[in-house]
Amino acid sequence: MLVRPELELISEWIRPGARVLDLGCGDGALLAYLREHRQVSGYGLEIDNANMLQCIQIGVNVIHADLEAGLADFGDSSFDYVIMTQTLQAVRQTEALLDEMLRVGRQGIVTFPNFGFWRCRVQIALQGLMPVVKTLPYEWYNTPNIHLFTLHDFEQLCRLKHIDILQRMVLDHAHRPRPGPKLWPNLLGEIALYRLGRA
């Protein structure tokens, strides 16, 4: 579920009139917001029936498909931005999907919960339990998040795959860009937003 501050922050990165593909678009809130505030055109990919219906109700173009099956239906650089909010940690083919994202889109925008947040570290180090925090609210046995990673993990992967980090924003759980997360992002940041490109 996307909250308004996150919509606003992503929106600031989007050029008006751009063509956007939203992977795992949920109820279509981001696309509806971008359509209104950035006059974008585009489509959302969504597998869940209820979400798909919600998109249709609000007039957001939705393609009922499983993004794990890849983006073969979309041509190279056919979108200005491919966006994946709070989804990267929940897919099986994380690496392949990142590649697909930057093939189909000129730029990619991802957001994800930071597993390196200090509360996570404390819970696992001192209690010996898998962390449960506001941005990762599930128990280990019912979590949809199957790839947990930190900001450092992600940036390492980007270096390895020659993905350029064009912009980064690190926020607290309420999506506020506080001084703490700015200073020690991997320790105090709870949510990360990245804008990516590939030369």
Partner: protein, 388 residues
């Protein structure tokens, strides 16, 4: 005492006939000097004629899409009655719904059973083979006659979906929403092969008489029945047939006969479907429409690139496919979606889980109807916003 119809039914409907005196040039090079089209309407056309919805029928369909023809003996309602009516997904309180029998049909519009003015005999096999584009042009003339400049939506399943697609390509400014259900951008080789077997069944029937069977007072019953039985197999899915019939023997039967009697449930179902069809459908129309299907290929006019065909369209599209449909599988619908995305058109796509095979587009599957309802509710709000 007259029958009372369900409150969400359009009730008693009376087919109407539109006559066209202006010649219609056809893709085959021939033309129809004049012709008639039978149609039905439900709901009320609003003051600025902006709430009209066209329903396009498939191979064996006709203009009777909803409601009843007889008050005293209502029988079965129109072929998509579960979807059209007050409060139904295609809501007749919001929309003025039109459905016509296509040219070449056998339910009242000019077709093989009509009298050829040149020789005062039924056209039979001499009726020109009409294409989806011809149909769309003829439907546009009907729209002109009804005062409908632009359709709020054009909706069709299977061959009907192909017409909805062709409309958006041929008349970009006359369609606001194109709903393409269980269709394909063109037939596959396998589809054409099935059609050819169906045609051969009819053509090889001794009662066919090269299509002039009307003059002999017979109909090629066996051929048409076989064609329909074959068609029916392709409309159902393997799992759907298993669920419905299994390997059950007919009622009361315990053992095999070791002969060719009707023994399995599925055999009696297919024979029943075949028999019932022969009584209500014309073999020449069946032959003609299978060719209409085979010829449909909008990309052919645009260098075999479907997305180029869609460049000029202005409609918003809703494409719907059903998981167990193998006649026009979801992959075929995704070809349409892919071309629309490449052309930068507005499109949504829903893939409905179903066991019903190709026939699913006629079934009241809750998710399917909810998708149609949600989409069309928005289209209705647009109509009301324009009127306001």
């Amino acid at each position: 005492m007259p029958h009372t119809f369900p409150p969400d039914s359009v009730g008693l409907v009376i087919p109407q006939t539109a006559r066209f005196e202006q010649s219609l040039a056809l893709d085959c090079g021939r033309s129809l000097a004049n012709y008639e089209m039978v149609y039905e309407t439900y709901g009320t056309l609003n003051a600025d004629c902006s709430n009209a919805v066209l329903i396009c029928h498939a191979l064996s369909g006709d203009h009777h899409v909803a409601g009843y023809h007889d008050e005293d003996d209502p029988g079965k309602p129109g072929w998509w009655d579960n979807c059209i009516g007050p409060g139904k997904p295609i809501d007749t309180r919001e929309f003025f719904v039109v459905c016509c029998n296509n040219l070449g049909g056998c339910k009242g519009s000019t077709g093989p059973t009509a009298i050829n003015p040149e020789n005062r005999k039924p056209y039979g096999p001499d009726f020109p083979i009409v294409t989806v584009k011809d149909w769309v042009r003829s439907q546009a003339r009907l729209a002109d006659q009804l005062g409908i400049r632009q359709w709020a939506a054009i909706i069709g399943g299977s061959l009907g979906g192909m017409q909805a697609m062709q409309w958006a390509i041929t008349f970009p400014d006359r369609v606001r929403h194109s709903l393409v259900i269980a269709a394909a951008p063109r037939l596959s080789t396998q589809n054409i092969a099935f059609n050819e077997v169906a045609r051969q069944a009819i053509l090889s029937d001794p009662d066919f008489h090269h299509g002039h069977y009307y003059e002999f007072g017979v109909v090629p019953r066996r051929g048409l029945m076989l064609a329909r039985m074959l068609g029916h197999i392709t409309y159902l899915s393997d799992e759907g047939m298993r669920a419905k019939f299994g390997r059950e023997l007919r009622e009361g039967k315990m053992n095999f006969n070791f002969n060719f009697d009707t023994e399995f449930q599925v055999e009696s179902y297919l024979r029943h479907q075949g028999h019932a069809f022969v009584d209500r459908f014309d073999a020449n129309t069946y032959l003609l429409i299978t060719k209409t299907l085979d010829y449909f290929d909008p990309a052919a006019d645009f260098d075999q690139d479907l997305s180029v065909a869609f460049h000029r369209t202005q409609a918003r599209f809703l494409v719907i496919a059903f998981t167990s449909d193998w006649r026009f599988a979801p992959a075929r619908s995704r070809e349409i979606v892919r071309a629309l995305v490449r052309a930068g058109r507005e499109v949504s796509y829903a893939e409905i889980p179903s066991e019903y095979g190709h026939d699913a587009f006629l079934m009241p599957i809750p998710l399917y109807h909810e998708v149609l309802r949600s989409y069309l509710a928005r289209a209705a709000r647009e109509v009301n916003a324009r009127a306001a």
